[in-house]
């Protein structure tokens, strides 16, 4: 589904990714863990096309998309829940969600809207209010809902559980698993909640200062002593 080869990316003079390679297969849930500043967000942004890359290749479903524009990638099925939520603050909640389906041509947008409202009822209560008034966690729900609205085939999640109450963290991970089950969505998940993420993931990667340091099945990584010491804290 997604293939990343030797990806380099920098901010000005500082290189943040030094040749990252990884793959996500169709229908998989793959988790990416790493410390602050390791380059997780940079990687996801590169995959979505909103971060310039200086080398390497990104391909989706076998096609090279390294040079494609972000909207082209969305059309091909990529959706991202970005770090820091990035909602459209002055727009209403419903408009935020509808914009998630911006490139969709089908008529089922209404149905999906109801589905998202079903997952996060608080969004429905406030649907016509500006999204900027929502609490941090509520905005996170909105960001997740907005990404779902595009019916992606590849969902990129950058710390989706950040700022969510524990009960909702459970729920979000359930949603991820269910999405894969029901609609075969491929998921690439960046999480600080490494334990939960690796638990639901088929496979995982560990990124350290711009390089992939480890990879393996979710289970294997969970048991790996280095991972346990550095990321799980047990």
């Amino acid at each position: 589904m997604l293939q990343v080869d030797g990806l380099h990316s920098s901010y000005g003079r500082i290189e943040a990714l030094h040749g990252v390679s990884l793959a996500v297969n169709r229908g998989e849930i793959v988790a990416l863990v790493g410390g602050n500043g390791a380059g997780k967000t940079t990687l996801l942004r590169s995959i979505s096309g909103v971060q310039p890359v200086n080398g390497g290749k990104v391909s989706l479903k076998g096609e090279d998309i390294t040079r494609s524009s972000p909207h082209e990638r969305v059309r091909r099925g990529i959706a991202q829940v970005p770090e820091g939520r990035q909602i459209f603050a002055p727009l209403s909640i419903e408009d935020n969600l509808r914009l998630g389906a911006y490139l969709r041509k089908d008529r089922k947008v209404g149905e999906d809207l109801e589905q998202v409202y079903g997952l996060f009822p608080v969004l429905k209560e406030r649907r016509f209010n500006p999204a900027g008034g929502l609490s941090g966690g509520q905005q996170q729900m909105l960001a997740i809902g907005r990404a779902l609205m595009s019916r992606p085939s590849l969902l990129l999640l950058d710390e989706p559980s950040m700022g969510l109450a524990p009960i909702l963290v459970d729920q979000v991970f359930e949603i991820i698993v269910r999405l894969r089950e029901e609609s075969g969505v491929t998921v690439f998940l960046v999480e600080q909640n490494a334990f939960a993420a690796l638990s639901i993931a088929d496979r995982g990667y560990v990124i350290e200062t711009g390089d992939i340091a480890l990879s393996g099945t979710g289970k294997a990584l969970l048991e790996d002593p280095r991972v346990r010491e550095a990321y799980l804290g047990v």
Binding site: N36, P166, V169, Q192
Partner: protein
């Protein structure tokens, strides 16, 4: 006498009663946590306490003095300092400068001396920079001192805010989700940091969704739901409170919470 006293406070936005008749008090030197579902009103409560919002009703007492509706800078002068859930970093400044701004109230602020670079200003700058480096070191960001904040990763920025808040040498410190965006290991570092701050006698009011941290560190916990108080008590009491489990913790949170006390 409690150092921070919130009495029957409330505010609404449009139809939403974000905080609704909440009362609590925080004792000097304790770690007091506020938890609750998303949208329960925790951040709003912080905004009310720190003067960012003016309450519709109710009172805030700081060291016994009524400070309701005072401007944030006046509260800062009285020893209150805080961090933000939605990052409020000075992105065009370096990490060190960010923290130096935290020293604002401790700095000599004679405009004349500043305009004409009297020696006192240079001395002051040096002093502030040294202090800033100390605080950066304390939160583990010494390596970032000269980096513009705009280039720092998310997790580091959260800690930068803590350093800035600490630099003001507050007596009451409000932390809004300091561990958001941190992995368990990093969270533990933050936890140790908060612990040490509290040990120095600074009163900490904490909002956090990481139950392991909250349960371990808090002297007392106040639970909000829909802007109202749902429960209040020690970690053990809260953890066992079925209403809290249902509304907030869920299975995962309960597990985390109980892991924490082992």
């Amino acid at each position: 006498m409690s150092i921070l006293h919130v009495e029957d406070i409330g505010i609404a936005f449009g139809g939403v009663k974000a905080v609704d008749h909440v009362t609590f008090h925080v004792e000097k030197g304790e770690v007091f946590s506020i938890i609750g579902p998303n949208g329960a009103g925790k951040t709003t409560l912080f905004n009310l306490m720190s003067g960012v919002y003016r309450p519709k009703f109710g009172k805030v007492l700081l060291s016994g003095e009524d400070v309701t509706g005072r401007e944030p800078q006046e509260l800062a002068r009285r020893g209150m300092s805080r961090t933000f859930q939605n990052l409020q970093v000075f992105f065009r400044m370096t990490a060190r400068e960010n923290v130096m701004v935290g020293r604002h109230l401790l700095e000599k602020r004679g405009l004349f001396a500043h305009l004409f670079a009297l020696p006192a200003t240079a001395r002051q700058n040096r002093e502030s920079a040294e202090a800033a480096d100390r605080f950066l070191d304390r939160v583990g960001l010494a390596a970032y001192a000269d980096m513009p904040a705009s280039a720092m990763p998310y997790g580091a920025l959260k800690r930068l805010e803590i350093a800035r808040a600490l630099a003001a040498q507050p007596s009451v410190l409000l932390l809004d989700e300091p561990a958001a965006g941190c992995n368990p290991v990093e969270t533990e570092e933050i936890e140790r940091l908060v612990r040490s701050i509290a040990d120095e006698g600074v009163t900490v009011v904490l909002v956090e969704h990481d139950m392991k941290m909250v349960m371990r560190i808090s002297n007392r916990i106040h639970v909000l739901e829909f802007g109202r108080t749902l429960a209040q008590g020690t970690s053990a009491e809260i953890r066992a409170n079925p209403k809290v489990i249902e509304a907030y913790l869920g299975t995962h949170g309960s597990k985390e919470a109980s892991v924490a006390c082992r």
